[in-house]
């Protein structure tokens, strides 16, 4: 059996006393829904060690990520795609430059190679025409698409999506989920996807292998 890519082991959420455990296996999409005050929005932060739980451990690619030294942690995070709530795009860069930023900073690709990859990513997310505008001038859907393109820049094995579908149409949300999954293989999705949020369109649920709901600090599996 292949090891889970992301494991929350007896993790305490802010303000909660109970502990939760869950795993994100390869080739699967895992969703945790919860209300705003449920603490569900801290799970992506714990997964990337942007915040540390008061108790419990988080394992990313079998490494206890919170124990990594700062420099190794930064390099380790590049192995994961992350679409934060509210997109997190840099306002003074165009959408194209936002998508290019992780490649320019974290790879030895030439500018020509980066432009080639950018063209593919922007076309895949259908924002090729909007590449030269800044986030403030883009629609919410364009921003979310650009943020997902940035998250997928290194073609990661695991993508973490926080509140990714809020404010999107069902069709756009479905497209983003499909791109995040990276197509299908015989074992399931090409990429594992870990999603958190308050809402996911019901029509997308068939494309999500495991669904949980966080209620009063307790993780309940949904059918």
């Amino acid at each position: 059996m292949t090891a889970a890519l992301l494991v929350f082991d007896n993790v305490t959420l802010p303000g909660g006393t109970s502990r939760i455990s869950l795993e994100v296996p390869p080739h699967q999409a895992v969703l945790v829904l919860g209300s705003e005050d449920s603490g569900v929005d801290t799970l992506p932060s714990y997964a990337l060690a942007l915040a540390k739980p008061s108790a419990g451990s988080v394992y990313l690619f079998s490494e206890e990520i919170a124990r990594l030294p700062y420099r190794s942690l930064l390099a380790f995070r590049r192995r994961v795609g992350y679409l934060p709530a509210g997109d997190g795009l840099l306002q003074n860069l165009t959408l194209r430059d936002n998508v290019a930023l992780p490649l320019r900073y974290g790879s030895d690709l030439t500018e020509r190679e980066i432009r080639g990859r950018l063209g593919v990513m922007l076309a895949l997310l259908r924002i090729g025409d909007a590449g030269d505008i800044r986030p403030a001038d883009a629609t919410e859907e364009q921003r979310r698409r650009a943020a997902l393109a940035r998250a997928l820049a290194f073609d990661p094995q695991l993508v973490i999506l926080a509140d990714a579908f809020d404010g999107l149409t069902v069709r756009a949300a479905g497209e983003l989920l499909d791109v995040a999954r990276g197509g299908e293989t015989s074992e399931g999705a090409r990429r594992a996807v870990f999603m958190t949020g308050q809402y996911v369109p019901a029509r997308l649920e068939t494309r999500i292998e495991t669904r949980y709901r966080l209620v009063r600090g307790e993780l309940r599996t949904e059918d």
């Binding site: 930064l74 380790f76 995070r77 934060p84 709530a85 509210g86 997190g88 840099l90 900073y105």
Partner: protein
């Protein structure tokens, strides 16, 4: 009696803690250069060039105007007053010490602090409010590399470059003022260049470096120090510019006490 003493003590303790935190932030930023990835250097250089454009090149007209007016006023008055007591040769020392070495760096640094320091602090604070810093960290990019180092480097380059512009314009403007009072340009350049020593040059250069660090690091510190509420953005900008101005004056005073 105890209350004012206690308040003063609290103020001093806060000021010392702030200076300590600033010093630590500066050391961390400089230390971070050691492990900036090679590809990251290209990204940081792009940010630095953009920042030099905003901080230095766009400020050139303002610095030229300030230098021209200030130098013209000082030299035209000085030429007249020194001429009355037959001491026009002191004009050179006045130009070098007062304008080139003292007011040039001081006014340039204050201009950059007021113009770009507020912008840097407000921009970084807004970035924090918008979640951009968290997004950078999540991408494996240290905000010290992406935001702080390029702005610090740009501030040093900009202040240094603008001081050179200020001093050159001031010397030319002083020539116009002296000429209008009847002094020949040959005589003017003779007394100014005779008064200029190597010590004046390196002191001015050192001031450019120190003031550049002050103008670069303090706004970054205040911009990144907010907790993440939008209402903190203008406060951070205001604190940054006030702290920068005070530090520039304190450093200027220390230069006079320690090095002149």
């Amino acid at each position: 009696m105890a209350a004012p003493v206690s308040a003063l003590g609290n103020w001093v303790a806060r000021a010392v803690a702030l200076v300590g935190a600033l010093a630590r932030f500066l050391v961390e930023a400089l230390w971070a250069t050691r492990w900036l990835p090679r590809a990251g250097r290209r990204v940081a250089t792009r940010v630095l060039i953009k920042q030099v454009w905003f901080t230095a090149l766009q400020a050139v007209p303002l610095v030229i105007t300030l230098a021209a007016i200030l130098s013209f006023l000082v030299i035209s008055q000085a030429t007249r007053e020194l001429g009355r007591i037959g001491a026009t040769e002191l004009l050179g020392r006045l130009m070098v010490v007062v304008i080139v070495r003292e007011l040039g760096p001081l006014l340039t640094a204050l201009t950059v602090a007021g113009r770009s320091g507020t912008a840097i602090a407000a921009e970084l604070a807004t970035n924090k409010v918008m979640g951009e810093l968290t997004a950078l960290r999540a991408m494996g990019i240290d905000p010290l590399h992406y935001h702080v180092l390029p702005r610090l480097g740009a501030a040093v380059l900009s202040v240094f470059g603008l001081i050179v512009v200020f001093d050159l314009v001031a010397i030319v403007s002083g020539l116009v003022a002296a000429s209008s009072s009847g002094m020949t340009s040959a005589r003017y350049f003779d007394i100014v260049l005779d008064s200029l020593t190597f010590r004046d040059v390196w002191l001015t250069a050192l001031k450019g470096l120190i003031f550049g660090i002050v103008v670069g690091i303090i706004p970054c510190f205040h911009g990144l120090a907010i907790r993440g509420r939008p209402t903190e953005v203008p406060i951070a900008a205001s604190q940054a510019v006030v702290a920068s101005i005070i530090t520039i004056f304190v450093c200027s005073g220390l230069f006079v006490v320690l090095l002149v």
